[in-house]
Amino acid sequence: EPEVTQTPSHQVTQMGQEVILRCVPISNHLYFYWYRQILGQKVEFLVSFYNNEISEKSEIFDDQFSVERPDGSNFTLKIRSTKLEDSAMYFCASSDGLFAHEQYFGPGTRLTVT
């Protein structure tokens, strides 16, 4: 069964650095999402992406964040000038847009900012 994959599984970076989290959605999916989960807290929506543009973004998704689909397969989340509070698990998800937009999640990337 096709799966969403994410790389790396764990990323350690220093405060102020830029990181790019990568996701490969399921190949025929058209809708893409990023979520994050700070340890012990809820899974929070960051952004949704469709037809090469952002559909919706949360208050968390400020100018520090950007998303891109650089080719036909990857979907990336860039975090500029990372802060300690960006440390979290970041989940990518994709959907084919069919019934109720069932989302398929990747295993997550654990980002640790030191």
Binding site: V43, A100, H101, F105
Partner: protein, 114 residues
């Protein structure tokens, strides 16, 4: 905006018994969808069951069923004949009709004991 609340951080159940996980939500929308996702240890979230708000009939998927009380804004998950493989984190989630944004609860950690 929607909010989703799961009041049980952790639950345990004996194998073969039945357990109910609670979820309440708040929304001003009339048309929305509700979901239960399962996240086994160190694995990605997968969809367990979903419910359209406009349907009165409770959704059922094999051993999993929901008790959807629209007026009370309650959406509980019942797992019958619990199996060891049901051990996981369970997240309740909701989305509005345009599916651009999903809202998650904080999760309930379910431990099925042999």
């Amino acid at each position: 905006a929607q909010t989703v609340t799961q009041s049980q951080p952790e639950m345990s159940v004996q194998e073969a018994e039945t357990v109910t996980l609670s979820c309440t939500y708040d929304t001003s929308e009339n048309n929305y969808y509700l979901f239960w996702y399962k996240q086994p240890p160190s694995r990605q979230m997968i969809l367990v069951i979903r419910q359209e708000a406009y349907k009165q009939q409770n959704a059922t998927e094999n051993r999993f069923s929901v008790n959807f009380q629209k007026a009370a804004k309650s959406f509980s998950l019942k797992i019958s004949d619990s199996q060891l493989g049901d051990t996981a984190m369970y997240f309740c989630a909701s989305t509005e009709y345009n599916f651009n944004k999903f809202y998650f609860g904080s999760g309930t950690k379910l431990n099925v004991k042999p």
